[in-house]
């Protein structure tokens, strides 16, 4: 294996040296429990947490008192949705609106809430993965308590019109939760301007450590706790804080903040080079997601007549790490629910590969990727009994 090329940065990212250095003090030097305010070691831990909280708050234009640390983007999604749902239990507000292309953390949470009498409407998306604002308006009922829509999709990278959705929610006095896990660090998030009431974040998608997330909760929002116990996080999220992880999250945000615009511009250019390279060199491919309203680092194509897992395995042999759909579903055999929601047929959906690049990706890497994926697609197509769209649609 000559080359190592990690192109699955939407699944998780490498933790950089600066982040590791910042975290390292909180293992065996400043190891106090942040709840222990009566001695120095405990106060140090607490201060470190509050510093990180301010950094995260600044980054999304929130107040530091509105940021709560959790263990993952998934926990944040669960908390936002269950917390609002349970706070409204038996109050005649039992309806949630979300979309068909949310992360499982949202979809499975909404499904679970059915047993508590809570109903969910799943909005459609068009072939680019965009929701229809008119359909959203029509879905709103007197019982609707929450609209939960992701800022940007993790598989196809499509960015929703969050500000407009937020306005609709506000006009109807409905809370608006945004799964911002993929958007954080790639799109400018401003909870005020975008009318966001709850925002889920996750550190490991932006160069921070795994197992730490955040939830922005607009002041005054009525929400139950998901995890009960001690008085951590101002009594709203119990459990001894993963201090080192919180510090790492803060540092990762700090790094992303520097040169934000120029970095995003550079990555976007590379993304488009990869998109053009694949489109121009490999026949019978479909770009998934919106051509322009998409995450700066996301390239997702369906390669007709072949299947995604075998592409991934061959890519791995060539040193390239990529993904077919989201990392979390890679254990399952169903084609991506996101691609199906865009109206794609199952057969084509099965042959989809997501490359997600990072600041470390070079032009040379992009060109190597185009050449490699072309070779692999050719090889697998030669083996396939499906040769055209007719074959693909038979079933």
């Amino acid at each position: 294996m000559s080359r190592k090329l990690y192109l699955d940065n939407a699944a998780t990212t490498r933790v950089g040296k600066e982040v590791i250095d910042e975290m390292s003090k909180y293992f065996d030097e400043f190891y106090g429990n942040p709840s222990s305010q009566l001695y120095e070691l405990g106060r140090r831990s607490k201060e470190a947490i509050e510093r990180a909280r301010r950094t995260v708050a600044d980054f999304i234009n929130a107040n530091e008192k509105e940021i709560y640390f959790t263990a993952s983007g998934t926990e944040s999604d669960n908390w936002a949705i269950k917390g609002v749902a349970f706070a409204n239990l038996n109050k005649g507000k039992n309806h949630i609106i979300t979309t068909k292309i949310e992360h499982q953390a949202v979809i499975h949470t909404c499904e679970y809430l059915e047993k508590f009498g809570i109903e969910t409407t799943y909005l459609d998306v068009d072939k680019y993965g965009l929701i229809d604002l008119e359909q959203l308006k029509e879905a709103i009922k007197a019982e609707t308590m929450l609209i939960s829509i992701m800022f940007a999709n993790n598989e196809i990278g499509t960015i929703q019109p969050i500000e407009e959705i937020g306005k609709i929610a506000r006009d109807n006095k409905i809370l608006f939760h945004v799964d911002g896990v993929q958007a954080l660090g790639s799109v400018k998030i401003d909870v005020e301007k975008q009318n966001i009431d709850l925002l889920s974040m996750s550190a490991h998608k932006i160069g921070g450590p795994k197992g730490i997330g955040g939830l922005y909760i607009r002041r005054g929002t009525r929400i139950d706790n998901l995890v009960h116990g001690g008085a951590q996080e101002r009594g709203k999220r119990a459990g001894t804080e993963g201090v080192q992880n919180i510090v790492g999250f803060g540092k990762a945000v700090e790094i992303v903040k520097e040169n934000f615009d120029s970095n995003i511009e550079r990555i976007t250019t590379l993304r488009d080079r990869l998109i053009e390279g694949i489109k121009n060199n490999i026949p019978d491919v479909v770009l998934n997601g919106h051509p322009t309203k998409r995450l700066a680092n996301n390239v997702n194509f369906s390669y007709k007549y072949i299947e995604g897992e075998s592409i991934l395995l061959l890519l791995d042999m060539e040193g390239i790490s990529a993904s077919s759909g989201s990392a979390c579903t890679s254990g399952s055999l169903d084609p991506s629910h996101v691609l199906l929601a865009t109206g794609m047929d199952h057969g084509t959906a099965h042959g989809s590969i997501r490359f997600t690049i990072s600041e470390e990706t070079t032009e040379e890497d992009i060109d190597y990727t185009v050449e490699t994926i072309k070779r692999i697609v050719d090889k697998l197509r030669a083996m396939s009994p499906i040769k055209n769209d007719e074959d693909l649609k038979k079933s």
Partner: protein, 141 residues
């Protein structure tokens, strides 16, 4: 995730390709489920002289097809029809539980091709009396 044997058959699949004037052809699976296997047989004096496959599917589908063709190549049709998915799994040194259906598909593809041969040549193959070609309904595993 996969054994070395699976990876070997995936990376260097044996007997890939199609075949003109095959004596029996079988295709199972469908694109909806993400696996299709097509097997071509050349048969002379009830012996499988040559076999080819084409597969749309995951790594273990390709490896299972490749292994199945190896297991029946040179065998008599009566031996070939007794090849089970277990034999494919064993020869591959095991498959992850979620991938066992690939080996089942390989067994069915072989049976389907033998059935096609039996139909065309008006032969009876013991063990295929009750074989029914796949119905049209789709059941993904």
């Amino acid at each position: 995730m996969y054994t070395a044997e699976v990876m070997d058959h995936f990376r260097n699949p044996r007997n890939v390709g199609n075949m003109e004037n095959a004596d029996g052809v079988g295709q199972v699976g469908n694109p909806k489920c993400g696996d299709i296997m097509k097997i071509y047989l050349k048969i002379k004096d009830e012996i499988i002289e040559d076999v080819k496959f084409e597969t749309f599917g995951c790594g273990s589908a390709i490896a299972s097809s490749s292994m199945a063709t190896e297991l029946i190549k040179g065998k008599s049709i009566h031996e070939a029809v007794t090849m089970t998915n277990k034999a494919v799994i064993e020869a591959l040194g095991g498959l992850p539980p979620v991938k066992v259906h690939c080996s089942v598909l390989a067994e069915q593809a072989v049976k389907s091709a033998l059935y096609d041969y039996a139909q065309k040549s008006n032969k009876v193959i013991k063990g295929l009396e009750n074989y029914k070609p796949e119905d049209d309904e789709v059941h993904c595993h």
